[in-house]
């Protein structure tokens, strides 16, 4: 998230939670921060709300062990606007959301395993719900200031939370847990809340998938999107088969030796700036050259005429790679060397 710029100056190390006096003055300034914080990646209505408190709440959880890079940005937020109101604390304990998994996974789409956050100690739990509640409210306020049409929802939510504050629920547990803000008219037992959190997670990921697969943005409805995803995956798999077939039918020697040769010119391929014409001119040069001078030349010298046209790439990298691989390849290449030049000369 790009919030570190705004918060970097203020992220102190471990400001204890209970220092209200010094921090209340920061509350006003905190409003701006919240506003800036509000647009998260998945900007659905409820999901945005869901995103906001979790990040703050996670920050609060980790405030004492502020090691991870993204979290110090929110660190100062957690210390703002702190009421020592027990009623609010109770409400917060019931209704705010910490989707730690969600927070983690929004950062790691690449599939890293999301280890649940460390178990918060008892003391942190007591202070933390209060923070989340006020942060929630402040965040919710901001959210609603921005989207004026949602003001009604906000009022309803406040009402619902006040209504339900007297009911007891077992939502505040020690392990990473999900705080959900209950909407009006919706059940607040733990099952449906958990299910709702789960559904939000699924929807968030479906959005990511929609962005990834081309042409999925316009489609409405889960089933059709899933259809598109399945088609995309199948087409990619078929492309892999086609390409391997093409590569296999190119030439029995070249496809295996191709890679060692390409090791030296890796940069140009990787950037995808595969300039067809330039490559076609330079490529056969190189092929013939290496085949003919096979016995004499080491692979460590990439032919000079190659480099001019890929000025944007990392020639340094290419050369290093070359030297690394050269040693491994020589032993293998020598074995095939005898057959190699003859056959290639015939074909070229």
């Amino acid at each position: 998230m790009d919030l570190s710029g705004g918060f970097g100056a203020r992220s102190g190390g471990g400001v204890p939670f209970r220092e209200v006096t010094a921090l209340e003055s920061l509350h006003l300034g905190g409003g701006d921060e919240f506003r800036r914080m509000v647009p998260p990646e998945n900007a659905g209505g409820f999901t945005a709300l869901l995103e906001l408190p979790p990040t703050q709440a996670v920050e609060l959880l980790h405030s004492s062990s502020s090691s991870s890079p993204s979290q110090p940005t929110l660190h100062s937020l957690g210390t703002l606007a702190f009421p020592s109101n027990s009623v609010l604390m109770e409400r917060a304990a019931r209704f705010s959301v910490i989707a730690t998994e969600q927070h983690n996974q929004n950062g790691n789409v690449s599939g890293e395993t999301t280890t649940t956050s460390s178990v918060p100690s008892n003391e942190r739990i007591k202070t933390e719900p209060a923070e989340t509640e006020t942060c929630d409210q402040a965040a919710v306020e901001e959210q609603n200031n921005r989207c004026g049409g949602k003001r009604k929802d906000f009022d309803k939510k406040v009402k619902s939370s006040t209504k339900k504050k007297n009911k007891s629920s077992e939502e505040s547990e020690k392990l990473p847990y999900v705080h959900v803000r209950a909407r009006r008219g919706q059940a607040t037992d733990s099952h449906s809340l958990a299910e709702r959190a789960r559904r939000e997670k699924i929807n968030a990921r479906m959005k990511l998938l929609q962005e990834l697969v081309p042409g999925c943005d316009k489609i409405q409805g889960t089933a059709l999107v899933l259809d598109e995803i399945i088609n995309h995956v199948q087409s990619l798999q078929r492309q892999v088969e086609m390409l391997s077939m093409r590569l296999a039918s190119v030439n029995p020697r070249i496809d295996f030796n191709l890679d060692t040769i390409l090791a030296s010119e890796n940069g140009s391929l990787m950037d995808g700036n595969f300039n067809g014409t330039a490559m076609q001119l330079a490529w056969p040069h190189q092929v013939m050259e290496t085949e003919q001078s096979y016995h004499h030349r080491q692979l460590q010298q990439p032919p000079p005429q190659q480099w001019p046209f890929d000025g944007l790439n990392q020639p340094v990298w290419g050369r290093e790679e070359d030297q690394d691989l050269g040693n491994d390849h020589n032993s293998l290449m020598v074995g095939a060397a005898n057959l190699h030049p003859n056959q290639v000369k015939m074909e070229l």
Partner: protein, 180 residues
């Protein structure tokens, strides 16, 4: 998230390593054998990029291990090979006929309204599609969790993209060279 160049480089390196394993067996001159070799080494290279963190990569490695055990063992470092090949996730066997029959009985008892019917049909459709997705993604049968399934699909698509990009550029280079 699009494939990064570092991913592509890593994939290429690993793929080359895999292809070199086949080089001594240079007598596999039939096109289909070569194609199979290329594809298998590419698949293992793609899966090993994730180093066993994702479900699909493990399942893919297991699948290629059934076809060419030697290749897999050579391509992955020793320790990983053993753990990846032996571990199998618990598969929940649901006998679909029984499930379907019981669902039909349940459905008969419920009173239906039009909107409920439509919702139920939509849900059925979505379920069918997710089952289709499970069939396509390697190791999908082990992902009973929908969240996990979608996450794995995301990762799998990105990896497939890198694989396709790298292979395509190599094939283009090779064919350009041949045409001369």
């Amino acid at each position: 998230m699009q494939p990064t160049s570092s991913m592509k480089e890593e994939f290429l390196k690993k793929w080359q390593m895999g292809l070199q394993i086949y080089r001594p067996l240079i007598d596999n001159t039939s096109v289909s054998e070569r194609r199979k070799a290329i594809k298998l080494s590419a698949d293992v290279a793609m899966a090993s990029l994730r180093r066993g963190t994702t479900c699909w990569s493990r399942a893919l490695i297991q699948k290629t291990a059934t076809e060419d055990n030697f290749l897999v063992r050579q391509m992955l470092s020793g320790i990983k090979a053993e753990t990846l090949m032996n571990k199998k996730l618990p598969k929940v066997m649901c006998h679909r006929k029984i499930v379907r029959r019981s669902k039909k009985i349940l459905m008969r008892r419920k009173s239906k309204s039009v909107s409920e019917e439509i919702a139920a049909k939509a849900r059925k459709l979505v379920k069918r599609k997710t089952q289709g997705l499970r069939n396509v993604v390697p190791g999908g049968e082990f992902m009973n969790n929908d969240v996990l399934l979608i996450q794995e699909t995301l990762d799998y698509i990105v990896s497939l993209q890198t694989q396709v990009n790298v292979m395509r550029s190599i094939v283009d280079a090779a064919e350009a060279g041949i045409e001369r």
